[in-house]
Symmetry: C2
């Protein structure tokens, strides 16, 4: 019984975390969990957990709690982990390599179908189970494969033009690792930014702020 109406971004950003913790419980063989137990593990209030889960439907049983496997699957479906959206990765530097090899796109809603780089030394070499293609072949590739998302691992300077090109080819969803902000560029694009610099500076602030306090 999907209720789903105007789910707020704060709830959405908590979903992967629920999924992660439930997956862990599942692997440990735990079959049942209450909002109170999840609360202790995850650091959200029990109230919030019940509220969050209830946005999508009544997954629990009163007096009992939630069945771990069932809840995990439900959240997986909500997130769309089996969607297999075709995506491409651009920029096979260290970061691109790390992402292509260490992340499991397949179990998280995507299918990595192409990796592109402009460096002739890299083109033709293998990364994960894909051969790195020349960035020159990008347009043709997109016409044929029609990927819907692009992972941007190119330097800041290259992103501005690249994202325009991709957008023109019909790719409107971006996972952006560059330090350049494309959030405001397109009115109908979905951009998920990973701003490592921002994260690092936030950490710096929090460390300083703490040391300036008595406790």
């Amino acid at each position: 019984m999907p209720k789903r109406e105007n789910i707020s971004m704060s709830v959405i950003r908590r979903l992967p975390r629920y999924y992660r913790f439930l997956n862990d419980l599942k692997k440990k063989g735990v079959t049942r969990v209450s909002s109170k137990e999840l609360s202790a593990k995850m650091g959200f209030t029990a109230s919030q957990i019940r509220q969050d889960l209830n946005c999508f439907g009544g997954f629990g049983q009163q007096g009992y709690g939630y069945i771990v496997e069932q809840l995990c699957n439900e959240i997986g479906n909500i997130l769309g982990v089996a969607n297999g959206y075709k995506c491409i990765l651009i920029g096979a530097g260290n970061l691109g390599q790390a992402i292509a090899t260490h992340l499991s796109f397949e179990t998280q809603g995507f299918q990595l179908v192409g990796i592109f780089d402009s460096n002739p030394r890299k083109v033709g070499t293998t990364l994960g189970n894909l051969v790195i293609s020349d960035i020159q072949t990008l347009e043709e590739f997109c016409r044929e494969q029609k990927p819907v998302m692009a992972v941007l691992c190119v330097p800041r300077a290259a992103v501005e033009r690249l994202s325009d090109k991709l957008y023109a080819m019909g790719i409107k969803n971006f996972w952006n690792f560059s330090h350049y902000d494309i959030t405001m560029k397109y009115h109908d694009a979905i951009v998920e930014n990973v701003h490592l610099n921002d994260s690092l500076m936030t950490l710096c602030y929090r460390i300083s702020d703490q040391s300036s306090r008595p406790d």
Copy 2:
């Protein structure tokens, strides 16, 4: 005139973004900016920008706006970009390499003083301007150098024990790239997580959600 009292986390997480945009303006030679102009560029409301900046002091001039360079410096100071906190990076895989080479720790409040890995093939090789050390030498190194932050780029399975070890050595600030959640482990630690999986799944949700809507 620093006001600073109980700055909320939402304001703090916006600070690096202000810093980034102001730095850009500075580089472009723009000397003056109003909250309205910043609003158009950054996507926050002008009201929020004024509110945010005012948590830390009156940096603007009524009727004129903000002096870009001055404001940028102020925010840099607030973030503590010149603090130079000593930090170490553990795990010199692709991700660790990307972080060590592509991020400018120095200009963002930190100083990377050591890189550690357990792989004998990697130990002794150079990364950036540091030589990768054997993880066995970690304890001695920490006693001497007393780093205050650790960047965790090791696999999920290794993090649990590693973070305990580091915590015992007195490192209470973590930049955590592993898929393992250490946020709840220590009551007095500051943890900044970069959960790439969560980000990817959120993107997946947003793509699915959009396609299920008429517009």
